[in-house]
């Protein structure tokens, strides 16, 4: 499993796009979009950090693709 962003629970705070810009973005309505489903290296670490900082639980980061 890679990176997921659940628009149903997202509250659009933009922490994910701020923290891991290559992995997440916000659509024009402010809701999370995943740009890179299987990031690696530094982007992976940033995705994990975004998961920790996301206030709504919309960001889920699974296992690294290596």
């Amino acid at each position: 499993m890679g990176v997921e962003g659940d628009q149903r629970v997202c509250i659009g705070a933009g922490m994910c796009a701020l923290t891991a810009p290559g992995v997440f973005d916000q659509d024009e309505n402010g809701l999370v979009v995943v740009l890179t489903e299987a990031p690696s290296g530094e982007a992976w670490d940033k995705a994990l950090r975004a998961e920790r900082l996301c206030p709504s639980g919309a960001v889920r980061v699974g296992r690294s693709s290596g």
């Binding site: 509250i11 659009g12 796009a17 309505n29 402010g30 809701l31």
Partner: protein, 395 residues
Amino acid sequence: MTTAPPAFPQARVCPHLPPPAYAELRQGPALRRVTTHAGQLAWLVTRYDQARTLLKDPRLSSDRRRPGFPVISVQVVLLTERKRQALIGMDPPEHDIQRRMFLPDFTLKKVRERRADIERIVHEALDEMMEHGPPADLYREFALPVPFRVICRLLGAPWEDRDFFQDAIRRLVRTFDTAEGRQAGAELLAYFEHLVTEYKKTPDSAGLIGRLAGTGQISDDDLALAAMSLLIAGHETTAAMISLGAVTLMENPDQLAAIRADPEAITPAVEELLRFQSIADSANLRVATADIEIDGVVIKEGEGILIPGSLANRDAEVFENPDTFDAGRDAGGHIAFGYGRHQCLGQNLARLELQIALTALWQRIPTLRMTVSAEELTARPPGAIQGIDALPVTW
């Protein structure tokens, strides 16, 4: 007889440092009883993990009208009386529906498009201040007008009416008298109801009010209330952070020098300022809608809960040497903007404003200094957004 639980929130002695007794509260249990302004018993959450867990718990309500909601100031008294609540006092599903209407104006992309505009506003304020100074009042002439102008533009609230807004808002947020606050709130609301009507007559979608007026997505009353609360939330906090942020940086000249030498350094420095200052003891207020067991205690349905960043953001298990201001540390996990579904809507705007303002300030005035010591500045009463209403400087 046991002693009565301590009062919360408490007053700052030095305006840029937390109240002295908070250090002791942090040493105690993660949840403890405190006494509010209204004399209610409520729960205070003193630790970061428990704070985040509770702020995400759907059994906590933000609705000020619910019995038991913690009344920490005259301003909260006024909110408990309101038939309609603004976003910050709504629960889902109503909350999420309204928040999504505002989100398009607050995305990272939209906020970043405002950079040039914010830079212009910042430099114009500095031009004016430098024309007649030194000395100057950095709060009145810089920290306050900058975010005020930014939020007026975002909303489409006429800048010509700024004197009215500022006067009415001051009467609302600074008063200790419910009648005076009620009157000021009514004047502001009436003003915005009129403005919404004007936007319906003459559509102009450059600002948030004009974009939503008459679309049928939101009632006129709710839009007027939202505009009023966005105007207040959008500048009161940011103005406090620009001024207190400047104080903290002037109190730490070595770190200020390092920030000035490296253009990238302002980004983590602003996160650390937000953590260190945690100005919003008056935010993150909740009431339990069910019995909640956490950390060996049971929060009963109908009991109030206070989850201030001023304690959680100084949890030594999360932030090493929490009482030390360290502009280079990774403070990104702070909850100065709250956490959970009510996390600050304007946080990315506030970040950008702070980064721009606190960079330009020393670019333009490298020799800036306070004319009084930090301890001599006057702190606001507990229950207000913490900050100062005057910051005498020279250069």
